[in-house]
Symmetry: D2
Subunit: 261 residues, 4 copies
């Protein structure tokens, strides 16, 4: 049985983690921390506490899951290390330098820590499969679909995917004839690094989508598609659970969920 603490238990993600912990047969929710609603009973004998350090001293916690704020997460992590409590960090906003520091603290304190910018197992598998398939196909493009409220295009996930694909193949669009766009932009955005890569990315924006992505590979006579749909934030919980289980059993430092899949 893994004794779990949830830090940021009142947030949208924190609430999902609480639900996941309650439903899981191998996890026991023992502690919840947040700045808001202190004292609220969230499950059985678990009440929201405001003082993280105190909470970790009072309760016997194996692993904490942290979905808090960019401004507080680094200080939180120091507290986890000091109390030798393993942690799963979903909060974004850590700088590369901070991540290096955390890695060192994790080693010196011998306290496991997983930092993951993305807990969607399906999205990570999509990227992994795309990278693998890139070895065998010389033509590939990415289409990503997001809600009309998303401001930037293409999505971060599509760029990450293209980067991974380029590690396997730095010359897509092989054999495409010279192309003319009668409507500018119709062939999509060209992802490349120093002129290499050539992965076209197409971004669709409309209501009805939360976050979907399709990677398409083609060769003569065949098409291979890897498609991932996210429709709500429940989708992150299997990844959070996997991370909790991993860090409970191992005591290492991990950056990126892909490294434990």
């Amino acid at each position: 049985m893994i004794k779990l603490g949830v830090v940021g238990a009142n947030g949208k993600m924190g609430q999902e983690v609480v639900k996941m912990a309650i439903a899981a047969q191998n996890i026991e929710l023992v502690c919840a921390v947040d700045k808001l609603n202190i004292g609220q009973n969230i499950y059985n004998d678990v009440y929201i506490e405001g003082d993280l350090n105190a909470a970790l001293k009072v309760h016997d916690v194996d692993v904490v899951v942290d979905f808090t704020q960019p401004s507080t997460v680094f200080e939180n992590i120091k507290i986890y290390m000091e109390n030798k409590v393993k942690s799963v960090i979903g909060t974004t906003g850590l700088s590369d330098e901070q991540i290096m520091q955390i890695k060192e603290m994790s080693k010196s304190s011998n306290t496991g820590c997983i930092i993951a910018p993305n807990f969607s197992i399906g999205a990570i598998l999509m990227m992994k499969f795309a990278q693998e398939a890139s070895k065998y196909f010389s033509n590939a493009e990415i289409i990503e679909f997001h809600n009309k409220k998303k401001k930037d295009a293409p999505s971060g996930t599509s760029i990450k995917t293209a980067q991974l694909m380029m590690e396997s193949n730095n010359n897509f669009k092989l054999g495409n004839c010279e192309e003319t766009e009668t409507i500018k932009g119709s062939r999509g955005g060209n992802y490349n690094q120093d002129g290499k890569g050539n992965i076209q990315i197409h971004s669709v924006r409309m209501p009805g989508f939360v976050a979907s992505q399709q990677v398409i590979f083609g060769s003569d006579g065949q098409i291979l598609k890897i498609h991932h749909d996210t429709i709500n934030r429940e989708c992150y919980m299997p990844g959070v659970k996997l991370a909790v289980e991993h860090i409970f059993e191992n005591n290492d430092f991990v950056y990126g969920l892909e490294n434990i899949l």
Copy 2:
């Protein structure tokens, strides 16, 4: 039983028409005309003839199907009218003026004629459905997929589809937030007329596709997709057959297969 003549019987499309005619239970192949392979026996008692006018006078032909060349089709049509033989014209390249002239000839000679740039029933239904759905959705985009040998983007079919959609709705992308492209072109090509319309078109080019198109409509909580795949030119034959049957039973002038669906 419809007595059919095939003009351009040796061409790629002509050969498919011959096969279709032989397989159809309500069509009898009575005449085949081409510039090449004159005298070749293509089926039972049917031999390829080189003189179109002579062939139409010798054989009792109800309807001809013409898949020839832009340079000859207009003269061919005059011959059909003079011989009062109904015709289905798949050859492209007629000018708007020529089409008007053919319409008049058809009326004055009382000889039915169908001119169709596209015999793919599936593609025409896709366009029709897209036009209809456009009345009820304020967000729609088009993705089209063609072989890497296709030079221009977007495809003619996608532009035709966007035009038809705009007849139902001239203000797509309603409520989309202001967008930023970190990779230029990633949001696709914007189809509009005088600033109206706003249908994003995305063109994918790779081997493995012949001609596919997807029209996507979104509103809060739902997505409607209409998707059409073409994998070879057999797909045009049901449309040719429908046109032959229509013009046999009716004696009118029709431009575009969509008008008889």
Copy 3:
């Protein structure tokens, strides 16, 4: 401006209707009725009331939307008619006989009423397009995808779709060779009426889907797919709004949203 009353304003659908009414520029929310939370202020000057009849007498209501219970909806409708308030009925469970009675009441009281079992415009268009395409294809199958909590297969929508398709074509599976199932059921469920129809329906059940359906049409060399995804109940609101607008402008009796699309 349409003055709207929401009956069942506390239910899951009722709450969505309230949100829709508040957001719509041509609708004014003037009245909310429910059995629960009476007196609660739900928007501006609108408080939940418990007595439907009284509420309709006090407020100047053009149209009510009713998402209540099978046990109360028929009595509610009588009250709408008596007060000459037009109604949009989303509540299910009315018997055929009751629907006939409502139609008569609507005429005799000259009070418009729309009863619709399905307000998803996308799903209704999918069915309409499937019925239309069935005229031109002799092979079609349906795949529907629902959550693992759905007990029955196939879905009601897939059966309704198959019925509509059969009105256009009562002999699908034309030319399929004699088939052998090495794993029983792999070819899906055969929908037919007195041996006619032959539409194979395939039901997928897993988490991650809310309600999706794909109708696939095939002929030599081409595939036409119509695909609809529902991811949450917001998707019904454009249909509810359309019904409200229709009944406000017309004063008829309508059964089924498809009749006003």
Copy 4:
């Protein structure tokens, strides 16, 4: 430069191999064998020969590709081994016992040989990815789409895929509620081994498809799909080429293209 012999050079697959060899920059076509059209010049100085053994003695052949008949392939392979010519075997119909014998011959004669029932790289990757994803999802189903001329359902590839998936997870359909089929077969065919596995397979049959398959994985809030389309037999050539290159560089015995991907 790999000196290639094509055995069964007149067959449908053999002709594709010849085309592939001519187009490849690292392959030289040096020898073609078939029972038909002996003496026909198929490319430059290469003529079809009828005596396999004699042909291998006359020409300096590094690798042969064999797409012949079940009745002759085993004898052919003996000849390859005797002449110490490496071989890529695409011909089907070898028994398990014969394959074991070939493996031994390959070792004792120190002559590399690849036997592959499927050269479609895309299909093999689909299976590999499905097996990998099965570790992380507890719900998965397979839909396969083939032409209406295919007699048996489900397809061999879908069963092979399900077998591989079961190696990763022997308990799919986890948490599905008790299901009722109002139309028998609608939930598809249940693939299991001794009651374990529970992968539903759905088979669609209609014109317009050659061979497609989709493996769908679902968990709360997300769907991962792996989809493969084959539209003609050109799709096998990258796999044949890969096998030729592998066996030229290595001298081992391989059964199944998946082992060299």
